[in-house]
């Protein structure tokens, strides 16, 4: 090997924060399955991409694991019935992102029998071509469980030359969230096996499972699982320093390889691809057991939850149902957050359902959400620059976006901001920096879209002008042709008359002879 392989040495990355992790709060109980909710609300599009065609009708009875929407290309991920029951209808139902939005949602009333549809595992996956596995994972509805819900098939596909390592990201760096830790504790073997399947599908030689250095128990379990599967040589388990946000895709790569993913590049350019440990377990369920992705572990925690714990929730379960299963709310809850306290989204209602990317519901009380000090002007202290893991200049970006100078903000690589919130957390002026970056990024997206639309309109306008010109010319040519024909026919007529006269003359002359 010319290069050291990822995981040979643990490196650092710029900035980041050491945060109080509060993880143990939710890890006191084993993962449990809450009772079936009355209704499941399955968003028809949960991943990044387009919505598939609906395959079921109102009133239809479906079995657990039956496809509800159709799989399309790699960006049209299907959704499956999380349990057996009757389809009550397809409605617009609130979704977590974007805030206050509605999304087409299939409502399923469970019949309580949990009858499964025939399972279709992919037997002998070791012998299969990578494409077959990727197709199978796509049909099983896999999208990244880390939170971004990027279609798994789209990430695996492509046959990247030089791809050597699959990184399984188990470094759950954000405070309070513990679903991946619990998953690795309880299903270590499935995670390792899923990692091997994903590596095979991606064409990677080795798997590196990255966990945090505080996860002692997890490391032990993973090692046991690795020996049980006889995969000591292909699977490495590496502990990274617990510094937020080392679980970010680009940060975990930097921690394991010491190299940065280029700002206009992909992890594959460095020969690595990153998947969440939850995605690995789901891949194993889909391939080995033929179970599509219909459930995930959700951490229900925070100072506002009576009995914090991790729950194995069906996709479509309203968060309120999970909170109830975790003992209900404590007094003084003021905010419900999907995700962690650093990069999560405030939920407008607890009726919003679980999706494939919902890792944590965090209930905060008055104490944590009470307004602190007023926002003050930026004093150029540079604290944000010190902690930015993407090595950007947060204060410059903030000033440019505030001045609506989006083009310059783009030149300062606003798009590379990972919205981790470190800058805002250390800002002594309490400026909501990330809000500005999110707004700036959306504005850049809008401009890009406008430019694309303009290019399309320009092409169509020019094509039409060309067509009109062609039609004009064709008309002119036709007219010319007609005129000529007329002229020709006139001369033809004249010469014919002339010929007839001459014939008559000759006849006359002949007659006289």
């Amino acid at each position: 090997m010319d290069d050291a392989l990822p995981g040979d040495r643990i490196h650092g990355f710029h900035g980041g924060l050491k945060l109080q992790h509060h993880k143990q709060t939710a890890c006191q109980h084993p993962v449990e399955r809450p009772p079936l909710p009355e209704r499941l609300f399955i968003a028809m599009r949960q991943h990044q991409g387009e919505t598939g065609r609906t395959l079921v009708e109102t009133g239809e009875h479906v079995l657990k694991g039956q496809a509800l929407t159709e799989a399309g290309d790699d960006f049209i991920v299907p959704e499956h019935a999380p349990t057996s029951g009757t389809i009550e209808g397809v409605i617009d139902y609130p979704a977590a992102m974007p805030p206050g939005s509605m999304r087409r949602t299939i409502v399923l009333v469970p019949d309580g029998e949990d009858r499964p549809a025939p399972r279709q595992p992919l037997e002998d996956w070791q012998e299969r071509r990578a494409d077959e596995i990727v197709d199978h994972l796509h049909r099983s509805g896999l999208a990244g469980l880390g939170g971004a819900m990027f279609p798994t098939a789209a990430k695996l596909r492509g046959g990247w030359s030089g791809l050597h390592t699959l990184i399984l990201n188990g470094a759950e760096c954000e405070p309070w969230i513990a679903c991946d830790e619990m998953l690795m504790r309880e299903r270590a073997r499935d995670v390792v096996e899923g990692g091997l399947i994903l590596a095979h599908a991606a064409g990677a030689r080795q798997v590196v499972i990255a966990i945090e250095d505080r996860m002692g128990l997890v490391e032990e379990k993973l090692r046991e699982a690795r020996s049980a599967l006889g995969a000591e040589r292909r699977v490495r388990i590496r502990k990274v320093f617990t510094i937020y946000p080392e679980g970010g895709e680009r940060q975990i790569i930097q921690a394991l390889t010491g190299r940065e993913v280029p700002h206009d590049g992909l992890p594959q350019d460095l020969g690595v691809v990153v998947h969440n440990v939850g995605t690995a377990a789901a891949a194993r369920d889909a391939v080995v057991e033929g179970r599509p992705l219909v459930e995930r572990i959700v951490t229900v925690t925070g100072p506002g939850i009576a009995d914090p714990r991790n729950l194995l929730a069906l996709v479509g379960t309203p968060f309120a149902h999970l909170v109830e299963a975790a003992g209900g709310y404590r007094e003084g809850v003021t905010r419900l957050v999907l995700g962690g306290p650093m990069s999560g989204t405030a939920l407008p209602s607890d009726e919003i359902p679980v999706t494939k990317g919902s890792n944590c519901v965090l209930a905060l009380t008055r104490e944590e959400t009470a307004p602190t000090q007023p926002t003050l002007p930026c004093i150029n202290c540079g604290e944000c620059v010190r902690v930015c893991p993407a090595r950007l200049l947060p204060q410059t970006l903030f000033k440019l976006v505030e001045a609506e100078n989006y083009d310059d903000a783009a030149d300062y690589d606003l798009a590379d901001c990972i919205e981790c919130g470190c800058c805002a957390a250390v800002c002594p002026s309490h400026i909501p920096l990330v809000d500005f970056y999110k707004h700036g990024k959306d504005e850049l997206t809008r401009r890009r879209l406008d430019r694309r639309r303009a290019a399309l309109a320009k092409r169509r306008y020019e094509a039409r002008e060309e067509r009109l010109e062609r039609e004009r010319q064709a008309r002119r040519a036709k007219r010319q042709e007609r005129e000529e024909k007329l002229k020709r026919s006139e001369t033809d007529a004249k010469s014919e008359i002339q010929a007839a006269i001459e014939r008559a003359k000759r006849k006359k002359e002949g007659g006289n002879d």
Binding site: S101, P374, L376, P377, D450, A454, R460, Y461
Partner: protein
């Protein structure tokens, strides 16, 4: 004395000739300037500027016939970009040409459409589909919201509605400039 005058005259004439030649040789390419102006224009093809399309307007701006503030769909941002490209002072949008609106799209009320094809002929980007005595419909992705189809419709069955835009993160409240403002705000 004489030699100094001669030298300076020669220098002046020499440099003058060189500049003249360079000026002719490196004259800005008229065509590419039109293209660059056209590249800034939003390609709505709405003719609100008084020219029959974005490219003719770009040509007129390049020729100095038209002003830079005649494009309502481009808005103030567009005026600013044109001013920057042409090296002139930006000016407010000419409101008499129309107002800057969010992205719009034409919708045909298909029950009322009589299939006259007049709107199809009016559409500058061929975004309307239909045939004689057949229902017409607008291809939403290709409609620029130029409003040119509204006028010719004899049964008034075309409406302009706001384009279905994805939700975007709003601009946060500005941060106070002075600590005192913050304390009292």
């Amino acid at each position: 004395m004489v030699s100094a005058i001669l030298t300076l005259t020669a220098l002046v004439l020499g440099i003058g000739a060189l500049l003249l030649w360079l000026g002719r040789r490196l004259a800005p390419d008229e065509g590419s300037l039109v293209e660059r102006i056209n590249g800034i224009l939003p390609q709505t093809q709405c003719a609100q500027c008084g020219y029959p399309g974005c490219r003719p307007y770009a040509q007129a701006v390049a020729d100095g016939e038209a002003d830079i503030n005649q494009c309502p769909p481009g808005g103030e941002d567009g005026v600013k970009m044109l001013a920057e490209l042409l090296g002139v002072e930006p000016k407010p949008l000419d409101e008499t040409r129309g107002e800057h609106k969010p992205p719009m799209v034409a919708v045909i009320d298909e029950d009322r459409c009589i299939g006259c094809t007049l709107c199809i002929q009016a559409c500058p980007v061929d975004a309307i589909l239909g045939a004689q005595r057949q229902m017409h419909t607008v291809i939403e992705a290709e409609c620029t919201g130029c409003e040119l189809c509204i006028e010719p419709c004899p049964v008034d069955c075309i409406d302009l509605v706001a384009k279905d835009e994805p939700w975007r993160w709003p601009r946060p409240d500005p941060i106070p400039l002075k600590v005192r403002e913050a304390a009292h705000g």
